[in-house]
């Protein structure tokens, strides 16, 4: 379909059943990577059923009607490469990398993942694993402060739903609820399969047409896994105070409204966050170089219908007031002291280098290809090279335009302090 940098060949299209396939053959690659990218995540969990998307992600590794969990795990290990999965707010991703000669088995195994049997004993064992995962994160102060900030910022917006869910919501999810979730979220129009690396494009397409084209496990559903309507969050504008006995460090986390993944100024928003809170940034020189805090950062997160700037710090408890004031002032000052052309150029080059150098191997390229091309609507294939070029081309005027769309005057967040 189209050629790209380094002799890579790209092809994107629909299979007869509605599922999309993107292949990138790379003559320089020595390995191959493949992944199913599902346009459904925690924000699509039903009210009271928080944690369903994540629970389902775990259960896909428990085997199909044809394979037990143990057999599936043995196949995955036999392939030898790295395999894993993750659930985020808007996506669920299953990925694997291996040797080119094992590609047929690798694809067959991935296909089997998406036909889970959802056996009751497997669901019960995995529920225990997830409850342990919830306990693990709940024991980390950094996660607690982030969750408190997100609760203040997102409120009842679906993007505020916890990915893991709570012990109560996970305890209440049964086979029927999980099966409903599976059929709704994994309908073919929500699924993109990406295969990249040392591959034969024709072989992969003929495999996919035969194995995935006609016989998707579920009919194309009319229910969408996507957000019901475009919506912006209504941040509380409050800074919630939390106390944790015995803590050594104070931590702050804050958010402001940002831009959506489809906004033309998305790269400029990322550059703005980088010059404010990346390496060699305003927050670095204000808080880290001075030694007032041992971490301070700001980033831009983009979702399908909205976005956010999120950042935070860690410092000595007796410096928390001063560091909070300086952190918020440094961010708000982006309006009063606009970024200079040198700051913009420096941050843009850093992000371009980071993106470009991180797209070296098929296992690295897979994520950019999958996450960037999962939303439908454009026939253009987005590559890591496109992202690199977008960052490199960001201008001071575009960064200024982001500042006129997004205000840093009214922070929402949380502050975690030691208590007695």
């Amino acid at each position: 379909m189209s050629g790209a940098a380094g002799g890579r060949q790209l092809r994107l299209g629909h299979l007869p059943g509605g599922l999309r396939l993107l292949t990138e053959s790379d003559p320089q690659a020595a390995t191959v990577a493949a992944g199913f990218f599902i346009a459904s995540g925690a924000r699509h969990d039903q009210t009271g059923g928080q944690g369903a998307a994540h629970f389902l992600e775990h259960l896909l590794f428990k085997g199909s009607e044809a394979l037990s969990a143990a057999e599936l795990n043995e196949r995955l290990d036999w392939l030898g490469g790295v395999h894993n999965a993750f659930t985020s707010q808007e996506q669920t991703v299953y990925h694997i990398a291996g040797l080119p000669e094992d590609l047929p088995q690798l694809l067959d195994t991935l296909r089997e993942l998406l036909r889970p049997a959802l056996r009751e004993p497997d669901i019960e064992a995995e529920r225990g694993v997830i409850l342990e995962e919830i306990a693990m994160y709940a024991s980390q102060p950094g996660v607690r402060v982030l969750e408190a900030m997100q609760a203040e910022f997102w409120g009842t917006h679906p993007l505020g739903q916890s990915i893991l869910g709570t012990p109560a919501s996970v305890g209440a999810l049964d086979r029927a609820a999980l099966d409903t979730q599976l059929q709704r979220a994994y309908a073919p129009h929500n699924v993109l399969l990406v295969v990249t690396g040392a591959l034969d494009e024709a072989e992969v397409w003929s495999w996919a047409e035969r194995e995935l084209g006609q016989q998707w496990p579920w009919p194309a559903s009319t229910a969408s896994g996507g957000p019901a309507a475009e919506s912006a969050p209504s941040p509380s504008g409050q800074i919630r105070q939390l106390v944790w006995p015995g803590l050594e460090r104070a931590q702050g986390a804050f958010a402001w409204p940002g831009l959506s993944a489809h906004h033309p100024l998305r790269p400029a928003a990322a550059v703005l966050a980088e010059l404010a809170g990346g390496e060699n940034s305003r927050l670095y020189w204000t808080l880290l170089d001075s030694g007032l805090a041992d971490s301070a950062d700001l980033g831009h997160l983009d979702f399908q219908d909205c976005g956010s700037f999120e950042g935070g710090f860690s410092c000595d408890p007796d410096r928390a007031d001063e560091v909070t004031r300086l952190f918020l002032q440094t961010v708000a000052d982006l309006h009063r002291t606009p970024p200079t052309p040198a700051e913009v150029a420096s941050a843009a080059r850093r992000l371009a280098a980071e993106t470009g150098l991180r797209a070296d191997t098929p296992a690295e390229r897979l994520f950019v290809l999958g996450l960037e091309n999962l939303p439908q609507g454009s026939e253009r294939i987005v590559t890591p090279e496109d992202l690199t070029a977008e960052f490199a081309a960001v201008t001071p005027a575009q960064v200024q335009a982001v500042l006129s769309l997004c205000s840093f005057q009214r922070p929402t967040g949380a502050l975690l302090l030691p208590g007695s």
């Binding site: 036999w78 047929p104 420096s346």
Partner: protein, 453 residues
């Protein structure tokens, strides 16, 4: 249960043209520069380069009483170099679009850069400025030692980090008596951030003395770029040609405290965390590769013994894993897991039962999967730019030379199932010597066997 890889394969297309040929790298070459720096130069086609410099000075080499020296010194190097102040040095890295990596470990300090080919000469000069010509402004020392103190205190707040910190102290802490007669080294008992006492004692003079030791002698530089090995050498000589030798690097060995049992009360954790360590073989031991293969079967994937028994079968923990640890010339196995208090003892009991069962050997299928896992891992370490630079440094540290292309592949292929099972059968029971460290609201017990002894 037996497993045979699926036999159904997609039919090969009629036109057999396009099965990609896996590219192989040209051989890397080794050079030694006059000051003693060893260069591994790897030509590789592509738009980008990767450079990784390894100085043989890590936190284990911190002088006794000056714990934190390597970590603070590494930060100090970036506070200005080559006539530039801190800001203008940071801007110089950004101007070239360089990606920086590395950091201080127990054994060594690594400084890594990657960027686009045309910028390699300038990147090497910047790196040489940082290492050989830092400004070392005295006013920064109190700030940097205070940042290290903050980092050290931050380790107390997360259960995983606090457990790792406590394990270092209790299991690997204390200088070796062999160091008597020389300036004693602090060893492996403290984190890179140091200790409160060490950070209070560090000053500009002690740091300058450490910097004078950090020289070309024993340092290793890996460069992967789209140039011939000779061209890479020329660029490195231009940047690092006048780097002084520094001090002779010192070998340091961990002081393993066999049989330690230690519990740390941590009420903020909803789980009980555990770490179990025992001595294994070092990287130069003939059993090293068989031991790595056994470890892969034990904990290297979703079908591995620990993952299956703890997570898949019983749902006791989110993660339970074993890893190998190389400290000095010695090797260790370290097991770790975390479960809520009501299930934590069962998690530990399952880990112990699986450890005992491992000595009875692997099945043929387990052996095959583990061998394939290690071989596939090799392909990944050859493919990425930065992975290739790291692999060359690892060869030089562990073997003192670069492996021939295909050498490790052939060694892994040559290991037999019988050899691995013979290695496992000959292992002594590791538990009497094992060190157990736990963290949470209540301690765990090693075994009923031990309690009744």
């Amino acid at each position: 249960m037996t497993f045979t890889p699926p036999s159904a394969r997609p039919a090969a297309p009629a036109q057999t043209s396009a099965r990609p040929v896996v590219p192989t790298l040209p051989a890397a070459e080794l050079f030694t520069l006059p000051g003693g720096l060893t260069l591994a130069a790897q030509p590789r086609a592509g738009a980008a380069f990767a450079v990784s410099l390894r100085l043989p000075w890590g936190s284990a080499h911190d002088p006794l009483g000056l714990e934190g020296t390597a970590g603070v010194l590494e930060e100090w190097l970036f506070k200005g170099a080559g006539g530039r102040g801190a800001r203008s040095l940071a801007n110089a890295f950004d101007a070239l679009g360089l990606r920086r990596g590395g950091g201080v470990g127990a054994e060594a300090t690594r400084l890594s850069l990657s960027g686009l080919n045309a910028d390699l000469p300038a990147a090497l000069h910047l790196l040489a400025d940082v290492v050989c010509r830092p400004e070392l402004p005295e006013a920064e020392v109190p700030v940097l030692t205070d940042l290290a103190r903050q980092d050290l205190e931050g380790l107390q707040d997360t259960p995983e980090e606090r457990l790792a910190l406590h394990t270092r102290t209790e299991v690997f802490g204390g200088p070796r008596s062999a160091a008597v007669g020389h300036a004693a080294l602090a060893g492996y008992g403290h984190p890179v951030s140091g200790t409160h006492a060490g950070l209070s004692a560090i000053n500009a003079a002690t740091l300058r003395a450490a910097h004078a030791r950090w020289g070309a002698q024993g340092s290793l530089l890996a460069v992967v770029a789209d140039l011939s090995a000779g061209e890479i050498l020329e660029q490195v000589e231009a940047a690092f040609g006048d780097w002084q030798p520094g001090a002779v690097p010192k070998a340091t060995e961990p002081h393993f405290h066999a049989g330690v049992r230690s519990h740390l009360y941590h009420p903020g954790s909803e789980q009980t965390h555990l770490s179990l360590s025992w001595p294994s073989v070092g990287a130069d031991h003939p059993d090293y590769l068989p031991s790595q293969l056994a470890l892969t079967a034990f904990s290297g994937g979703s079908a591995s013994r620990l993952f299956h028994a703890v997570r898949e079968e019983r749902g006791l923990a989110y993660a339970a894993q074993a890893s190998s640890l190389l400290l000095g010339s010695q090797g260790f196995w370290q097991l770790g897991a975390a479960s809520t208090p009501a299930r934590a003892q069962e998690t530990l009991d399952v880990l112990l039962a699986e450890t005992e069962r491992l000595r009875a050997g692997l099945s043929a299928h387990e052996f095959e999967r583990a061998q394939r896992g290690l071989l596939t891992g090799l392909a990944f370490s050859e493919e990425g730019l930065r992975a290739r630079a790291s692999a060359m440094l690892r060869d030089l540290v562990l073997l003192g030379r670069l492996r021939e292309p295909g050498e490790l592949h052939a060694q892994l292929r040559a290991i037999t199932h019988e050899e691995v099972n013979a290695y496992l059968a000959a292992l002594p029971d590791p538990l009497p010597d094992a060190a157990l460290v736990t963290l949470g609201r209540a301690p765990l017990h090693l075994s009923t066997r031990e309690l009744s002894a």
